[in-house]
Subunit: 437 residues, 2 copies
């Protein structure tokens, strides 16, 4: 038997933390209200997020939204939002999501103060954060006290699998989605039961009611029917959720709950393959910018390499904190191609099939041109038989996104035979294992 | 300007040959009639084939069919057919198509005497050769004298491209199909005009009228609407016909006419690849049996090698006459695989995805198991890293067809680095070129 009570008490805030959060948020709400009254600002603060709903894990953020009257201009709302934030958070720094907000650590507790507009219905929203207080209201109404514990168990389960969080870094299940799953399926176990037998997409709500959604997870936002709350979840994350649900149900264990995955790298042995490590200093930009750029860089490399005949069978990424490195690891079965390449020409039905023939009639080709099935082919001398120079060439020419483009010149590119080098990215590479543990 | 008259006189029978063929066939028809009368056999001989219609090339066969009354049993008809054949062809030998017939060389001219049943309509046919005299009647009615010359030009054009003949060796256009093309398009040039701009399948007649046909060439037999006269034509043969039509129209030349393709092998230079030659004595069976068996052998090797991770990028075959060898040539970019192979497991949605995980949890694997997209993977030790022993193993285990299975033990299998060995199959391999010339 799993001692869920023990799991909950291990990972949820104790009385001391709860007291501190309560005092801190009450104080801030009071101060913000006072500031608004004193400065004639038509806005009111509201505590949102998991700590307002009793579904938070240890050390969760305090999220306070300031809801402005809709008569304000957006720029004015933003300006006043920052002004209030700085007034109440002495050491606040400015951060940017859809618009700027103030963030700080107060007594070791992270606090975000985010301005938005008051709306009663999602259709009235002016900015995407306006919806957050509606989520809060909805969940307060639909989650029973018992279900709040189920939410926490599900969060811990998803975290252990490394699929909790909707940021572009994780492509997983957000806190809000986790809570909607419990509202929909009733409990932690019934959610896992559903996922363990689910085939294909995870769909909650009518995916064609208002707008047609197509993604692995479709969870119609109950506060906004034109939004898919599960849009960020990748196919891999959904598959990991399904498989870990199957594994847990077959063999339940407390090991399936934790703040993060258990990483036990496999031994770094000779695989008989070739490795390439690309290393550079992380540009000073937030996760939601650097992660998609690294992703794009990898898919650019993979596609361009494939076109040259080099097949990348595995890749892995490590994105350090600002100041640290980004590392991309590529694995190839072969990094040297034969002198001859089979060049696939156009289908014979196409007008210029004949020009392909004319072009390759010369003496200097290996074989052909010839027809196979519905196309013409010619076997030519391959000009790029080594991967390392080809990779350098690809990186030089490709658009790798604004921030990475700027530091292309500083890339360190290294080749390794048989096994990858000791490095952060190799640890991640060798740790890849699902489900966890 | 192309001198079509000169081409025709070069490749069609001269007066001497025509005279000889006429005398020979008249004599045989007379003798067969006399034999039937003398032996009370209800059957009558008929000259069919291209030499009966004036569409033959130099040295064409003489085909005489003996049409039996439908009251005969098939076995009896076969027996009498052979009896008559041997009576009129002193040096006749027996051959087998759908049923046995007698074949011989008379004054250097090949003569076949084939028994069949008299029918007035294809729906009455008892054996597939019964239809042949109907083809003869149809073409005699629909081909003008001028069009007969067009048929000959088209035959010479297709022969030059190596796509004339419907046998399993060629998968090309039969004589009958060639004649139907001229009946349909009117002339050699209008046939080429059609093919040069054709996209997709070649269809003559309504492909869905009686029976639904699906193949690259669909030519409804005008004497039998449930038969596709073009069923034997492969996609590659159709594509070669299209492309050579484009080439001829763009740059017409007498070089496009001849009894066979012009083969000018490319130089045998180092391609940086690996070659494997499989050589064995041709079993004593006809082309229509050995060719499909060699084909099947090659596709078995290709598929099984692919499953082991070895990709065969090119193959070629040489099938000598009986007494000579069969040679199969395989080309691979790499014949050695890394120690590690990425083993693709089942989709996570499938019941036994979890057994895959359990099975590969052990210490001895390289990496994983892990989830990617909708599947599980594990990276394992590859047990077959060398192609040569894998190939031997594949050949040992596979069913290669009755006649090849018997002589498996005599296979000679050789490996070559960089370029293929001097051999018949290498000549074919290096000659592959379309269009020809």
């Amino acid at each position: 038997m799993i001692d869920f009570g023990c799991i909950l008490s291990t990972f949820t805030p104790d009385q001391e933390e709860l007291g501190k959060v309560k005092r801190l948020s009450d104080d801030l709400i009071r101060e913000i209200s006072k500031y608004c009254q004193g400065h004639n600002i038509k806005a009111e603060p509201i505590l949102v997020g998991s700590s307002s709903r009793g579904t938070s894990l240890k050390g969760a953020d305090i999220d306070i939204f300031i809801r402005f009257h809709r008569s304000y201009e957006i720029r004015e709302m933003e300006r006043l939002g920052l002004q209030i934030g700085h007034a109440v958070l002495r050491n606040g720094i400015e951060k940017y999501a859809e618009h700027p907000y103030v963030s700080s650590y107060e007594f070791g507790q992270k606090v975000d103060i985010v301005p938005c507009f008051i709306i009663n219905d999602a259709s009235e929203k002016l900015t995407s954060v306006d919806r957050t207080p509606l989520h809060n209201e909805y969940l307060k109404k639909h989650l029973s006290d018992a279900q709040k514990k189920e939410v926490i168990l599900l969060k811990l389960f998803l975290r252990r699998q490394g699929i909790y969080g909707s940021e572009l870094k994780t492509n997983g299940f957000s806190g809000y989605v986790t809570e909607l799953l419990i509202v929909n399926f009733g409990s932690f176990l019934s959610t896992l039961n559903h996922l363990s037998t689910l085939k294909g997409n995870l769909v909650i709500g009518d995916p064609n009611s208002v707008k047609r959604f197509e993604s692995p997870v479709i969870i119609i936002d109950p506060t906004d029917p034109i939004r898919n709350a599960g849009a960020a979840v990748s196919l891999t994350s959904l598959s990991i959720f399904k498989l870990s649900s199957k594994a847990f149900i077959k063999n339940p264990s407390e090991d399936y709950f934790g703040m993060g995955p258990i990483r036990t790298p496999r031994k770094n042995v000779d695989r008989g393959t070739k490795f390439f490590l690309i290393k550079f200093r992380r540009p000073d930009v937030v996760d939601d910018i650097i992660f998609p750029q690294v992703q794009k860089m990898i898919s650019t490399i993979t596609r361009a390499s494939e076109n040259l005949g080099f097949r990348i069978i595995n890749w892995e990424q490590f994105v350090g904190e600002v100041g640290d490195n980004v590392e991309v690891l590529l694995e190839l079965e072969y990094d040297q191609l034969p002198a001859m390449k089979v060049h696939r020409g156009p289908p014979v039905d196409i007008e210029n099939a004949l020009s392909f023939i004319e072009k390759h009639k010369g003496e200097e080709i290996f074989r052909g041109p010839y027809v196979k099935d519905d196309r013409v082919y010619a076997e030519l001398k391959n000009g790029n038989t080594e991967f390392l120079p080809s990779l350098k060439n690809i990186l030089e020419k490709a658009d790798l996104g604004r921030h990475i483009n700027k530091i292309k010149g500083e890339f360190i590119i290294e080749r390794y035979e048989g096994k990858p080098p000791e490095s952060e990215v190799t640890n991640i590479f060798l740790s890849r294992k699902n489900p966890s543990p």
